[in-house]
């Protein structure tokens, strides 16, 4: 990573724009989860006593990784802009992939596999889980669609010029 921003070969960097914005998207979704569901709605519990040790460990790692990813993502983004390597269509696709990817990961791995905590307590979980994961999947698929479209347009552009 340290050398990655060094390149002087300016011009849009599609892959890097997508990855950096996916990183920012995932950490923004994680922050939104923390703020909306933990703090504002109070649906999620700070610590669900049934959380197994491995869930606690993965939660600690993921939570810290989210913080570091948000800071790293913003500086990587600033570096892309500084070098003129930012590609807007790929960045948009990456952001959606990051947002949806985190949502689905949280819904399946954290809530169901590791059982870190549930979406809400004292209610029938099925509709909540369905809405949570479906919303994430829609974002994820939209992101993949945009990434494909950006890729095709780029290729078409190259063929025209080439």
């Amino acid at each position: 990573m340290q050398q990655a921003g060094v390149g002087t070969n300016d011009g849009p960097d599609a892959r890097r724009s997508l990855l950096v914005c996916a990183l920012i998207g995932a950490s923004v979704m994680a922050a939104a989860d923390e703020i909306v569901f933990h703090q504002i709605l109070g649906w999620h519990h700070f610590y669900d006593r049934s959380t197994p040790a491995v869930g606690l460990l993965s939660d600690g790692l993921l939570h810290t990784a989210e913080l570091l990813a948000l800071v790293a993502g913003l500086f990587l983004y600033a570096d892309l802009r500084r070098r003129g390597a930012f590609s807007r269509p790929d960045a948009r696709a990456g952001a959606l992939i990051g947002l949806g990817g985190f949502q689905v990961f949280d819904g399946i791995v954290d809530h169901k596999l590791l059982r870190v905590h549930q979406i809400r307590y004292g209610v029938d979980l099925a509709p909540y889980d369905l809405a949570w994961n479906a919303a994430g999947a829609v974002l994820l698929l939209a992101g993949c669609g945009l990434a494909l479209r950006a890729h095709r347009r780029r290729r078409a552009g190259r063929e025209q010029h080439g």
Binding site: V6, R49, L56, T64, A72
Partner: protein, 275 residues
């Protein structure tokens, strides 16, 4: 903060050790201010934000020693931990005290000796980020997962020793992760420093969440106080980790910017030379 003898604050507040610690902190802050003023008088550039950061770190330490700290006893203990072991070390390290010391010392022997010590193999080990993190977070786990915290509440000297370790280990960790002052460079790449920050942050978060459910052994603490303290520890840790991450990110951004400008200059010179 009166009454119970088992809570972690019984020894703090007005104790002789707390006063001694506050006096030492005041002395360090005064020495820093004098040294910075001396540099500026002789024409050196020394940004004011470094003075402000070091002074804020000293103030945080004095506050942690003398109080009053918010919340019930356990929450107040967590507040003291966040100030002494995390926030104050970051603020003090951002003031680059070692660089200041090196600049203000007479050029000959003292400065050479200190530089050599900083670059020696013996100094390289403790400032290796994983080693420093182990001293810091390992100590924190010991404090909260053995009867040490309960014992420190009853013995003022032990209480003082625990907090001295908290400060020194916090300083070492912050120093090793930030690498703002001149030390031996080996083992201090961005990857290892960032990875250590991630591991230490995770260990801090796991400890805080665990404390929400299970109090430190032997410590008399009300459930409400325990939960408030654990939540404060979790989110307070986040705030300092974001600060540390920002230090690393700014270093990376500046370093890649410098490398890029150099490469562009070289390319321009090559084009110019060819023409």
């Amino acid at each position: 903060m009166t009454g119970a003898h088992t809570h972690p604050d019984a020894a703090a507040g007005t104790g002789v050790y707390a006063l001694a610690a506050a006096a030492a902190v005041l002395l360090a802050a005064a020495a820093y201010a004098v040294a910075a003023a001396r540099l500026r008088r002789r024409g050196d550039a020394w940004p004011r934000r470094r003075d402000a950061s070091f002074a804020a770190g000293a103030a945080a330490l004095a506050w942690a020693a003398l109080g009053p700290l918010p919340g019930e006893p356990f929450t107040a203990h967590v507040c003291r931990h966040l100030l002494t072991g995390m926030a104050a070390p970051l603020l003090l390290v951002l003031g680059r005290p070692v660089t200041l010391l090196l600049r203000v010392l007479p050029p000959a022997r003292a400065r050479r000796a200190l530089t050599a010590a900083g670059r020696s193999r013996a100094a390289a080990l403790p400032v290796l980020p994983p080693v420093a993190a182990l001293a810091d977070i390992g100590g924190l786990w010991l404090l909260h997962r053995t009867p040490l915290l309960a014992a420190a509440g009853e013995r003022p000297l032990l209480h003082a020793a625990v907090h001295a370790h908290m400060l020194l280990a916090g300083l070492l960790f912050t120093f090793a992760v930030c690498r703002l002052d001149p030390v031996r460079r080996s083992g201090g790449g961005l990857g290892i420093r960032g990875g250590t920050l991630l591991a230490a942050g995770a260990a801090h978060a796991v400890l805080a969440k665990g404390l929400y459910a299970v109090p430190p052994p032997g410590l008399a603490v009300t459930p409400g106080d325990l939960r408030a303290g654990a939540v404060l520890m979790y989110y307070g840790g986040d705030a300092v980790e974001i600060g540390l991450a920002l230090v690393l990110a700014v270093q990376w951004y500046a370093a890649t910017g410098r490398t890029r400008r150099r490469a562009l200059r070289r390319r321009a010179a090559a084009v110019h030379g060819a023409a």
